[in-house]
Amino acid sequence: MAERITRADVEHVAQLARLALGEEEIQSLSEELGAILEYAAQVSALDTHDVPPTAHPLPLVNVFRPDEARPGLPRDEVLAAAPDVQENRFRVPRILGEEP
């Protein structure tokens, strides 16, 4: 069961997670993830037929606050922390397939 995480799995998941990985990391992650998932699969041993999932331990739903305008974060301060800014906006490289 430990070898069920293949190199292709690691590359696929890394792509989903937008994570570039080096060759050595791909190798070690396939082994480590296999071992961790094998341990974590112990949860399958419990019968959970008819048991609802818990996403959150509090009995709170639909928490609203009054619909009142209040100031947001100071724009200059927020933009000052960004890696690249142009005309009061966050600047990014081109999106795939878009002409520069």
């Binding site: 048991v51 818990t54 927020v78 990014v92």
Partner: protein, 475 residues
């Protein structure tokens, strides 16, 4: 070491100045910090300004607050306006948040003096503080050993006398386990008692902020200040902070205390840790409590469920580090490559491992088998604890199966590191409060912590029991 309540009383009465108190603690930091590395940054000048403001308030006759002049160390995953907040990650190095976390506002309003930001496992992912991008923190009791984690810097800061109080965050034991390994008190409150606004998110259904202190009473004082409803956190419970200090010495006579077998009689636990739990139970019995053993069978599945749920939530929360709005950017020809290159360079090994694990557990074809099943097991754990709390007022258990281990002992084996949390994750999954209290020493004379657990919002009883254990330990 002078306690927080003593310092606040002296500063409020004018017997000592907040500035003098601060300088003594800065001197302590100058002496031992090079060997311990509890802090990512010591905010000496900012703290001097804050201490002087407290002294000015006292001179004017204004109320400087219940924590007047008490130096406090903040885990470096809590936002401080204009001051570095790194999560011990390269990806946030140099970032200065545009706002304060609610807990930061509250401790400052209470007169506490923020003395520095403490080291942690990167993004709070770890149990030894060795996963920090800025180097490990060392245990003040033995610098060849880890302080525990992920709030290892905060625990070490209190243990070393750098600050009487500290704040940490606990997602799977990250306050209680380092408290145990460093010989201090550490508290994970009920989920929702303390606002997470401005706490950098790891696993949102589990994360909770809580206090570190040398004594149960000081920890209670700090929780009274940081607790209570905050409209900026929609998961915050709409109640005021719990009242803890007033009833602290009401005793434990007649309380029903259960020793949890699945969190004490476990494989790999050190005999002296197990003996400490029994000795603490005997102390409670001598003080009038009714002690029995209790079984919570599903707690055995805590680690498996936790290491699916927490990484799944982390993989989603950490998607925000995309090189666009803050922190590191590694340039590339187009956005997707920039995102991936930034995250490759900015995240450390354990963070990548958890993002991968969580993304896998949430991915098409595996969601129900892993994440869905873990959430259903979480329900079973929660229900079992609720049933047990019909028969018991509080539970006790080990906090960590071992005393502090050597640096490097578990870094090559992620699963061995994850098992450090075996006794602490159940309370995160159930959302119930739990705390660690020092109780004697184990192998190599290192501190042991005994864990006290209580039902939702059971903090007042939990603290009374913790106080009785502290007294039984002769402290």
């Amino acid at each position: 070491m002078i306690g927080a309540r003593r310092i606040a009383a002296d500063v409020r009465s004018g017997a000592r100045s907040a500035r003098d108190v601060l300088e003594e603690h800065l001197d302590a930091i100058s002496g031992r910090e090079p060997d311990i590395h509890a802090f990512n940054v010591v905010l000496a000048d900012v703290a001097r300004g804050a201490a002087d403001a407290v002294d000015a308030a006292v001179a004017r006759g204004d109320d400087p607050g219940p924590l007047a002049g008490v130096p406090l160390a903040l885990k470096d995953n809590m936002c401080t306006h204009g001051l570095p907040t790194t999560c011990s990650s390269r990806i946030l190095e140099g970032w200065r948040p545009p706002y304060d976390a609610t807990v930061v506002e509250r401790v400052q309003a209470a007169g506490a003096v923020v003395i520095g930001k403490t080291n942690l496992d990167e993004f709070a992912m770890g149990s030894s503080t060795e996963n920090s991008a800025f180097g490990p923190t060392r245990n003040p009791h033995d610098v060849t050993r880890v302080p525990g984690g992920s709030s290892g810097g905060s625990a070490a800061a209190v243990a070393a006398g750098f600050a009487p109080l500290a704040l940490g965050s606990d997602t799977g034991g990250s306050i209680r386990q380092p408290a145990a390994l460093c010989g201090v008190v550490g508290v994970k409150p009920t989920y929702g008692v303390v606002s997470r606004y401005g706490l950098i998110a790891f696993a949102s259904s589990l994360d909770q902020i809580g206090p570190f202190a040398a004594t149960v009473e000081d920890a209670a004082s700090l929780l009274e200040v940081i607790g209570g409803h905050d409209p900026l956190d929609s998961t915050s419970i709409a109640r005021p902070a719990p009242e803890l200090v007033a009833g602290l010495d009401d005793g434990v006579s007649g309380l029903r205390v259960g020793i949890v077998g699945e969190m004490t009689e476990i494989e790999g636990i050190e005999p002296r840790v197990r003996d400490a739990v029994k000795a603490a139970a005997a102390g409670l019995e001598a003080a009038g409590a009714k002690v029995d053993t209790v079984s919570v069978p599903s707690a055995t599945y805590g680690i498996s469920a936790y290491y699916l749920i927490a990484p799944a939530e982390a993989s989603s929360n950490l998607a925000r580090y995309d090189g666009v709005r803050y922190g590191l950017r590694v340039d590339a020809d187009e956005v997707a490559h920039m995102n991936a290159a930034t995250r490759e360079a900015g995240f450390g090994r354990e963070v990548k491992r958890r993002i991968m694990l969580g993304t896998y557990a949430l991915s098409a074809g595996y969601y129900d088998e892993y994440y869905g099943q873990a959430q259903r097991v979480r329900t079973l754990i929660l229900r079992e604890f609720e049933r047990v709390y019909e028969e018991f007022d509080v539970l006790i258990a080990a906090t960590s199966p071992t005393v502090a281990f050597e640096l490097g002992a578990k870094t090559a084996d992620p699963l061995a590191m994850y098992l450090c949390d075996v006794c602490t994750v159940p309370a995160n999954l159930s959302g119930h409060p739990a705390m660690s209290v020092p109780f004697g020493t184990g192998d190599a004379g290192l501190p042991i912590g005994v864990q006290v657990l209580a039902p939702a919002l059971g903090e007042p009883t939990m603290f009374r029991v913790a106080r009785a254990i502290e007294q039984a330990a002769g402290r």
